[in-house]
């Protein structure tokens, strides 16, 4: 119903829950208040986990990190996938991975520079984090195609951002998806910045969602800070893709409250005034207002939520830091199925060198 009712070409977009927390009942997706309350709690953990990663980086305990602060509602779109669906993430997807069931400790380990963190539980059906901007939507199309060919009712969801939308590969992905009518859902989180470049300079088009029509499938622009709009759009797109109606594109309009990564200084390209203008649209704040109105949230309950979140995140950090670093041989182990002799010699050479200088590993 959303995709038909809201046409990005006519400047229309979906919002269910207003910034003040008022819900437009006729647009309400299949989402009970109890479920909203549960997701609010998961989003609180998500925010804390994200802030913790930033803090760990500042303390030198974690490497460069790309935060999701402000994008928690859009990231929670991953909660609506079925167990056998595929999630194909970019590097700014801590929240989506967490909601999908990837342990936070895995995510921390990856950003701590431990490649083994990327070995996500197989059952989550999440591909490794993508670093190249815009490479992964093609993979989601291929996955979806494979599902279709094998008669599996699974959907592959591609996560990418407004910056990625300029890459040739993203164009090719949507075009292939349209041509082969693959069960792919394209989730574009438009956080309005590609490092320093504002969305207005990324494309001269009014929206990214409207591009879908040029590939022959529907697109929808939603308020990406509105969990209910995100949920409704996602439920419908997944159902459509699953039932053989082809791909869908959802542009989730959100805002990156944090820097691009821990290496970035946003004061070079945006003012605090601009940032503050977006703070009232904080996705968690909005949900809190709604839940409070329903009698499902109080200040004292928030204290409990924060305590539980803190315990969950602390445990993940403890687990991540308790892992013994990989040995240097880990560099060579996965290059190819059978290690060629010259590579084995290179490995021997390194291990012998490390032994000769005392100790064969870290330290």
């Amino acid at each position: 119903m959303y995709f038909e009712r809201f046409d990005p070409m006519r400047g229309e977009s979906l919002q269910v829950l207003g910034p003040e927390g008022r819900l437009q009942e006729d647009l309400r997706p299949d989402l009970s208040d109890q479920r909203i309350r549960e997701l609010y709690e998961r989003m609180s953990v998500m925010r804390l986990a994200d802030r913790t990663a930033m803090n760990l980086q500042r303390e030198g305990r974690l490497g460069t990190y790309a935060p999701v602060y402000g994008q928690e509602a859009a990231q929670t779109s991953a909660a609506f996938l079925e167990p056998l669906d595929w999630l194909v993430p970019s590097y700014r997807e801590t929240g989506a991975l967490f909601i999908r069931g990837v342990p936070l400790a895995n995510i921390y380990r990856y950003w701590m520079g431990d490649e083994r963190g990327m070995l996500f539980p197989e059952a989550t059906r999440v591909l490794p984090i993508q670093i190249v901007v815009g490479a992964q939507p093609l993979h989601a199309v291929g996955l979806a195609w494979a599902m279709k060919l094998q008669g599996e009712p699974s959907v592959a969801v591609a996560y990418f951002g407004d910056g990625a939308s300029s890459q040739g590969d993203v164009h090719e992905a949507m075009n292939f998806a349209g041509v082969f009518k693959t069960p792919t859902v394209f989730v574009c989180q438009n956080n309005q910045f590609a490092i320093s470049l504002p969305r207005s300079q990324q494309t001269a088009a009014a929206t990214i969602a409207q591009r879908a029509s040029s590939y022959g499938f529907p697109g929808l622009l939603v308020d990406g800070n509105d969990l209910l709009a995100v949920a409704g759009a996602m439920q419908e797109a997944l159902a459509d893709a699953r039932s053989g109606r082809g791909p869908r594109l959802i542009e989730m309009l959100t805002y990156r409250f944090g820097p691009h990564t821990t290496s970035d200084d946003p004061s070079k390209y945006r003012t605090d005034v601009e940032l503050e203008k977006h703070k009232p649209f904080d996705p968690l704040l909005r949900l809190r207002r709604y839940l409070k109105g329903k009698g499902l949230w109080t200040e004292s309950e928030e204290t409990g939520i924060m305590a539980r979140s803190q315990a969950e995140v602390n445990e993940a950090v403890r687990q991540a830091e308790a892992v013994i670093p990989a040995p240097p041989s880990d560099i060579f182990a996965y290059t190819c199925r059978r290690m060629p002799p010259y590579l084995a010699r290179q490995q021997d050479e390194l291990l012998a060198f490390l032994k000769s200088r005392g100790g064969a590993g870290h330290g």
């Binding site: 190249v132 070079k268 290179q346």
Partner: protein
């Protein structure tokens, strides 16, 4: 840019942000957003339009934000830029400079630490340079801008802030295609470039203390490669160590070793030693120190060739 108004700089975050390493900081404020241009996020787009800009009479200086992302532009770089002079029978030389932060050693995320220079050196029609110090950065850049042909300017990111040196205020040039003997020696030759030069120098210091005199050659231009300088040095020292961050197989060490074998085999007193990255994917930060060659591994390689 003040002297030549045909110069236009383009890339991701090069303008308002001044580049992620601040290399172009302040240039947009000085020359305006028509000459220092923040482009959409599309590497192939950046290089492909740079080609058109050059064909149309401009002198584009494009930036690819990290070497790991140059692969997205390889059609435009290798098939288009590299071949255009030949395909147009010399009409379109295409003065394009592509600046790219290069190499490892800063504990960066994945695909921000690689050294894929072989891809470019293997491509006919491209000039590839990499400075190892601030003076060469200026001198090579001025020559690159004046060359009238595509130049890939690899900027070793590990030494962006690691080396402080006076840079001549004058019109200072460093000729493209010429290696430099950075340090004279007589017992062995160490060839390096970019960030590895510091490691080679440090190795030479320690070897000196052990009584071995190492000649250090800074290749500076990777293509066209000044192998004559290396051959000449090997004729003198009889021993050769080549150090680079890139994987060993078909790394530039392979080509240098081949040329030395072709031209100075009789001068060699020991097998050529390559101290390089491995034929494996560049690891994440936790294992990076084991992958990248350093002065200790260069010393080990030097001792090996000296033991013959």
């Amino acid at each position: 840019m003040a002297r030549n108004d045909r110069i236009i700089m383009l890339g991701e975050d090069v303008g308002r942000e001044g580049g992620v390493f601040r290399v172009t900081d302040g240039l947009q404020a000085k020359y305006g957003n028509q000459r220092v241009v923040d482009t959409p996020l599309a590497e192939s787009g950046i290089v492909g339009t740079a080609l058109g800009l050059a064909a149309g009479g401009m002198l584009p200086v494009a930036e690819i934000q990290f070497e790991g992302f140059i692969h997205l532009a390889l059609d435009q770089i290798c098939n288009q830029l590299g071949r255009m002079r030949t395909r147009s029978r010399g009409r379109y030389g295409l003065g394009v400079v592509i600046r790219v932060p290069w190499g490892g050693g800063i504990h960066a995320p994945e695909l921000h630490s690689d050294s894929p220079e072989t891809l470019l050196v293997h491509t006919p029609g491209l000039t590839v340079v990499t400075p190892s110090n601030p003076g060469d950065a200026k001198g090579l850049m001025l020559c690159a801008l004046r060359l009238g042909e595509p130049v890939i300017f690899c900027e070793p990111k590990r030494i962006y802030r690691a080396i402080k040196a006076e840079v001549p205020e004058t019109d200072y040039t460093v000729p493209i295609g010429r290696a430099q003997v950075a340090r004279e020696g007589k017992d062995l030759t160490i060839v390096a470039w970019g960030a590895m030069l510091r490691e080679a120098w440090e190795a030479a210091d320690e070897l000196q203390a052990e009584g071995a005199s190492a000649e250090v050659i800074d290749l500076r231009t990777l293509s066209p490669m000044d192998s004559e300088a290396v051959v000449e040095s090997v004729r003198k020292t009889g021993r050769l160590v080549i150090a680079h961050e890139a994987p060993r197989t078909l790394g530039l060490g392979a080509e240098l070793a081949a040329r030395v074998a072709e031209e100075a085999l009789a001068s060699l007193l020991a097998p050529i030693e390559r101290v390089t990255g491995f034929d494996a994917v560049m690891p994440l930060a936790q294992l990076e120190e084991f992958y990248l060659p350093d002065h200790r591994r260069i010393i080990a390689g030097a001792r090996k060739v000296l033991s013959y």
